[in-house]
Symmetry: D2
Subunit: 382 residues, 4 copies
């Protein structure tokens, strides 16, 4: 997409690039040969030849271009590998390699996404602790309601981020794929399940109960979790953009955000780009959920959507989280303005409940207790 | 929606109806008063008055109509309750009740959805067992590839259904909601967290770490799981519709599916309606994911999307699963046609792998082993 | 959906109800018989019998329930009609009637949606005219940028509403559908195209070049236009909700919007519900676009999505527009607050461009000229 | 996205690349200066300096990277331009340039998309003409229903393609954008509307009634049209993939589609990739529709979604159409198989309608007349 360096950090862009997918394909081919050699389906020499071929240099764009003839980039890759290693891709099908590659890409990009979640949790925890006594207005339907604390707001962000980190840790673990042309591993005779186990071990991926060529639940679930995580980053971003409004002025983003002709402006750059990333991640995830409807033993189209959609979901979810991690970590909080903005009306319900509140800090109920609960959770889950 | 009886079974339609939501709201109000009485915030008599008021008769449509003035149906309900029970809704906010109602609706509708998943699993397991020796063509990109068995196809459905049942069992458990006007439970003074715990216990719902008025992760996740489950029902439906084609004729649906003027037709009614339901469930889920971006302490719009979208996601996901449960349970399988349809080409790769396959059954690799793995999993997870 | 009276005005809910669809089906059956009698395919007496049968009373829910057997509600309806009118549905297929019904439903609901657009345009024009001299801050990325007028803001809404009204006027005109079992009108022998023309005339619908059973472009386009219109209502709602914030206070919605325990609050009810409606309309429209992928001569599922999705798109788009029409028409505008909110920085760029602006009204450029352009356009398009 | 050369033709990928966007930005800056010089706002020398600066070499990726500081790539570009041309970007705002660039990108990529639609129309017309007498089974709900002709099937594709070409021709014409910091053109004093007119003329784009910074209807509509067109390509692809099934075998795609180990397979490569492209185009379009909700005078996030989403919508819609154009143009049609596949049941309803049909060709009704209507339409619209 145009100007993607604005949205997604360079390491994450690299982790879902053509080159990363190609590396993952080569790793899958290498692991297959190694597993087959271990089980005795091919010889050690043949496996070494495959490993040597996989160490070669290939051009992802050229493979894709060449792949137009057959509808995928693996067939030309395998043809090239077989020039030096006859037993490359032995008994496997194109989708075995591409699905396994998607698992490797998800794992590697997932490390980066999870690191953003970890950093964001830390930044939220710091704010929650620091501002547990910072009173501000709670706003419902964009109207001031009753007092709250900025610490509680940050604590709620924290709880959401912890939750998503736990879910994503599990979701990024896609299983290895190996089923052969029809999902029966027929070409491996009676050694199919042995090779499958060894292959998954080689790759450090989990072994599926049976091939999942058209049982795409883990991919759709990963997409959904990424979209939910990105949208939660979007929620934090929305809060920040609203708090940073000229008329509210309770926070300022760390980024420059300057306007060349309007020096008074400090744009909420991180929040803006995080929300854009979140919208893009959601669109990609919706594609992955719809792509669950894959017919028979290999789908004519729905599967092919996944490569790009999964890459986008990872990249944009990571982009949203990265922007929020950076923004929250450097957020300028104006405690005075928070206090000054509170309208007198926020105490209007207190009397009705028999609470004598002469100022906002008198009417905070369980706010601080909730902050403690959130920080305790973080201490346990860290 | 028009003709919804076509798509969603009556009990499930009822479980997400206006009336079900109203019942859930009344249950939440009753539980709140009971919890508050237990903790000593209000008296037992006051709680009994609330319970009595909640046992009254209300008109959901009228409450909605009246609610246009304030933007929700709870305010008019509470006003009515307070005519007989002054302490109704004590210290709570509209969203506390609606969110808790959504948890109760999800739980009750969830029971029905899970029952469909259970029935579908059983039906798939039966097919997998019965047809583990029924040879047919595996089809990739809608072309015959190599042999497989219908048992393996059913086993793969089974594994997916088991997986989704486990995920949905967890996802339908939304927590109780109680936060008061700004999420601080300020109106309850220092008894807020005690009331929260008692309230969740009263309802049999889990207690959140802190109020989740704008931390909508569980709702979005439930929506996503429902969409994925519905889409997997859609995958099974797609397989069936393709197998039922005139030119393939390997299965027939149990439903009548007749055409008045074309007696030769037997339409795949269940598959057709399951796929329609799946598409609708996905749309509803996408709304729930986008609705994660809720600002501040209560959102002006994103939250209001959820009531209908969650209801739709539950109804249409359940509808898709119900159609597949019924269809798979009564499926007519034409084993002869499966065998007869196999094209000679499906053995073409066998020789290359040194396998002497003179007929399709000779080239099935791990197909039967995979069926066993699926059935073992089912035995463990049942 | 639960509490739908909150979202969609009663006449519009009625216009997409089961009953409205049933009426439209009966109108289509009646028109078919009349057209066939006119062309001489059936007798006048037979057509009168059909008309009489169509004037009977039917139960939409029961037809849907009965239709589960065959996958649609038309087959049971036709069976009932034929008890009194043998030539009912002569030569037609189920989809002919349902698609024509969708055209009639779209036309009738469309009248209501267009009326909301008309009322909204009028309300925007009134604001644009009245407030062409009301200076306020233009806000970019939620930061005050330079001065503008509230009249220009309203003028921009107006231009968008006019644009959408023109587009929707065209889009709600779905063509009549008549193709028979396979889209060839074979059952009508050589009178097929004559009947098609007469049928479309009877209904006051346009005649398609050829049957559009699986060429769903007009349905998808109508859905898209409805979603775009709803989203533009959502844009206006978003502006209003932001302007109505406690800290901004430049507008107040006419609706009560009160909170029982917090009398200081005036919630932006209309904006809130309009945005919720817009999100729901978008989801429905996305289903209609995806449903363009309909196979062969009648789709097994994608078509069945349309009935509910089109109904939802019409209802929620109309709901969003109705809420904005009502809200804009009664909007309270606080001109003093608009002026007072303007921060000094909004003039900071003026000097750079050689403009001597000592107060915001001095730095408005073409704002008033743009308002005139918008009002001129409205005068022409009214 | 990974392996995008598989999906999108190289010229179209280039037309939405970073480099294309950068060229368009430079063209917008150049045109602005030229227009301002024409109107007398800046001098001819100043405009020439801008033109010279715009002829320089820039690095889109570096601008994006640098733009992270301010949230867009234009600010760094303008800073660079101003080193050589003080009056570059005079009176404009970042969004003026990016929106105008989007109009130029849409126009240029649109030429390519429209060319694919034109080629696809021609290919469909050829099939319709050639096969107007080729009898085959019409299939409804994937069951054979009555006879039709392959010519009529192609004619229906043709009518849809013609329709979409007309709609896209209009939709790709986004207006020029010029509004300055707040949409008032204040920096241009009383010359704002003159500059706007001259600027649009310079660019060959239409002049908007007033700036459309947050009135995003044309962008959303373009996205929707692209998604609908792509989905209609997806419909054709779905038909082809089904017709190409091993068990049906009525068409074969021209692409190689071979499998290295299964020589009997001829995969429907074009249909497969077209359907994948269509799904991706729909996701991008849905983002553009949701992005209509842009607040105030410039949105903090929703606008930023558009650059990538519009690029994706153009690329994938064009990719879907290109694959179908190529596939239809080279399609192998097996007329014998079409005839042989027809099941006897397809004549079962004929007798009921008093038609004496002893073979399928006797029961075609208006099929040929419809083909003529489609070809006549094509002759008129070409």
């Amino acid at each position: 997409m145009p100007f993607d360096a604005l949205f997604v950090p360079p390491p994450l862009r690299e982790a879902v690039s053509d080159e990363a997918w190609l590396r993952a394909l080569l790793e899958a081919e290498r692991a297959l040969a190694a597993a087959e050699a271990g089980v005795g389906v091919i010889s050690m020499e043949e496996a070494e030849a495959v490993a040597a071929a996989c160490a070669g240099t290939f051009d992802a764009a050229a493979l894709a271009e060449e792949g137009r003839r057959v509808g995928n980039p693996v067939e030309p890759l395998v043809r090239a590998l077989r020039e030096g290693a006859e037993r490359a891709h032995w008994g496997a099908t194109t989708q075995d390699m591409l699905d396994t590659a998607s698992a490797l890409v998800a794992r590697d990009a997932g490390v980066l996404v999870l690191a953003e979640l970890g950093g964001l949790a830390e930044a939220c925890a710091t704010l929650a602790e620091r501002h547990r006594g910072t009173v501000m207005a709670a706003r419902t339907l964009l109207q001031q309601a009753v007092p709250t604390t900025f610490g509680l707001k940050a604590a709620s962000w924290l709880v959401g981020v912890i939750h998503m980190r736990g879910r994503l840790e599990r979701a990024v673990r896609l299983p290895a794929q190996l089923g052969g042309a029809g999902g029966t591993l027929a070409a491996l005779g009676d050694r199919g399940t042995d090779v499958l186990r060894a292959y998954a071990e080689q790759l450090g991926l989990s072994e599926p109960v049976l091939p999942w060529h058209t049982r795409r639940l883990p991919v759709a679930e990963l997409g959904s979790e990424l979209a939910v995580a990105a949208s939660f980053a979007g929620k934090i971003a929305l809060d920040l953009a609203l708090l940073a409004q000229t008329e509210v002025g309770e926070v300022r983003e760390p980024a420059d955000g300057g306007s060349s002709t309007m020096p008074h402006k400090r744009n909420p750059v991180g929040s803006t780009l995080a929300r854009a990333c979140a919208a893009r991640a959601r669109a990609a995830a919706a594609e992955l959920v719809a792509a669950v409807e894959q017919e028979h033993e290999r789908a004519a189209g729905a599967w092919h959507v996944e490569w790009g959609a999964l890459s986008d979901a990872l990249a944009f979810s990571g982009g949203a989280l990265a922007w929020m991690r950076e923004t929250i970590a450097g957020l300028e909080v104006d405690e005075e303005r928070m206090r000054a903005n509170i309208s007198p009306g926020v105490l209007s319900e207190a009397g009705r409940f028999g609470i004598d509140a002469s100022e906002p800090a008198d009417y905070l109920g369980a706010a601080d207790a909730f902050v403690s609960r959130a920080l305790d959770l973080y201490a346990r889950e860290r």
